[in-house]
């Protein structure tokens, strides 16, 4: 380790092992270096809901999908999940999940809910329902 390019001087007790050493694979390696979702240019909000498209061709047959894609598909199979939940569930940064979801959306494996447009609140009926639901918790 004499050519350590990080420039951090060696200090006793500063070695990191296992989980503490960080991911073995650089996060954006899983996306092939892409940092933006594919050509469709969709913006996945943190609370956009991702649903597995049951009519979709079997993901197992799609060789273009990597293990992280499959992990996301498995998470969605259990229940519809938000982008934030998928990121936490797959233990991947949100930015990486967005790129992977872009691939899944393009291949038709999943559908993604439209985010609520800014400055447009849900109607009063929904808000009343939320208040009632909170009271009942």
């Amino acid at each position: 380790m004499t050519e350590d390019t990080t420039g951090v001087p060696f200090q006793p007790g500063s070695q990191w092992y296992d989980h503490e050493a960080g991911p073995l694979v650089r996060p954006y390696a899983m996306t092939g270096g892409r940092t933006q979702p594919g050509p469709s240019g969709v913006r996945f909000d943190l609370i956009a809901l991702v649903t597995l498209d049951t009519g979709a061709p079997n993901a197992d047959d799609d060789t273009s999908l990597g293990p992280e894609h499959r992990a996301l598909i498995e998470l969605c199979r259990r229940e519809t999940q938000s982008v934030a939940e998928l990121a936490a569930g797959a233990d991947l940064p949100v930015g990486v999940v967005r790129v992977l979801l872009g691939d899944l959306l393009e291949s038709g494996c999943v559908t993604v809910s439209r985010p609520v447009p800014p400055a447009q609140l849900p109607d009063e009926r929904i808000l009343r329902e939320v208040i009632k639901g909170l009271r009942a918790l």
């Binding site: 938000s82 990121a87 849900p122 109607d123 808000l127 939320v130 909170l134």
Partner: protein
């Protein structure tokens, strides 16, 4: 009008998720509040930030870390099948403001948690939501040992716009947290109605 109508029907059919932000200074109890009301153990999402663009001319920085991880804790409350509320604890540090812009997109509203022993910590959050006209309530987390102030005192000290609710709460307590959220949703509804009336009048 026709297109608006069909949009509404579409929304009824598809699942709807609403977003509430929980902001405030470092260590004021944001994650505690999220955890108290969430039906799931608060989850953590991480966003990688590249600082390369911000320090291109700063050669001193090259031997330092060029990516930073910002963590956001969040929780969920399912109101019914197809309608859920997500609570996001915003990153505490000021230099992550730009993340707030994304978080606040389409947010129903925000809770600004305040600690009366260091009220100034929540000034940036109050400013942020006031400027962007995002409905918010100030929830004073009543820490044991802190001097008790009335909601009115806090409202004056923060120079809040008239009508912005101030609620005293205990971020650890589920019922107290629920009350804060109810006040916020009620207030967001009132603000929304007032704006609709403004826009037609």
């Amino acid at each position: 009008m026709v297109s608006e109508h069909s949009d509404a029907t579409e929304d009824e059919m598809s699942a709807l998720a609403l977003k509430i932000l929980v902001a405030g200074g470092f260590g004021v109890g944001k994650t505690t509040l999220v955890g108290a009301v969430s039906e799931i153990r608060p989850l953590r999402t991480e966003e990688l930030l590249s600082e390369a663009g911000q320090s291109v001319d700063d050669t001193d920085g090259v031997d330092q870390k060029v990516t930073t991880t910002v963590a956001m804790d969040f929780g969920r409350i399912t109101i019914r099948s197809g309608l859920s509320l997500y609570l996001f604890g915003t990153p505490g540090q000021d230099r992550f403001w730009f993340l707030w812009d994304e978080l606040s997109q389409g947010a129903l509203g925000a809770v600004v948690l305040a600690d009366t022993r260091r009220l100034e910590d929540c000034f940036p959050a109050v400013d942020y939501f006031e400027h962007r006209r995002i409905p918010f309530v100030v929830a004073v987390n009543c820490f044991p040992g802190a001097r008790a102030y009335g909601a009115h005192d806090v409202s004056r000290a923060l120079d809040l716009d008239r009508g912005t609710p101030v609620v005293l709460c205990d971020a650890r307590d589920r019922d107290s947290g629920k009350e804060v959220l109810i006040r916020l949703v009620e207030y967001a509804g009132r603000m929304h109605t007032a704006r609709l009336l403004d826009s037609v009048g």
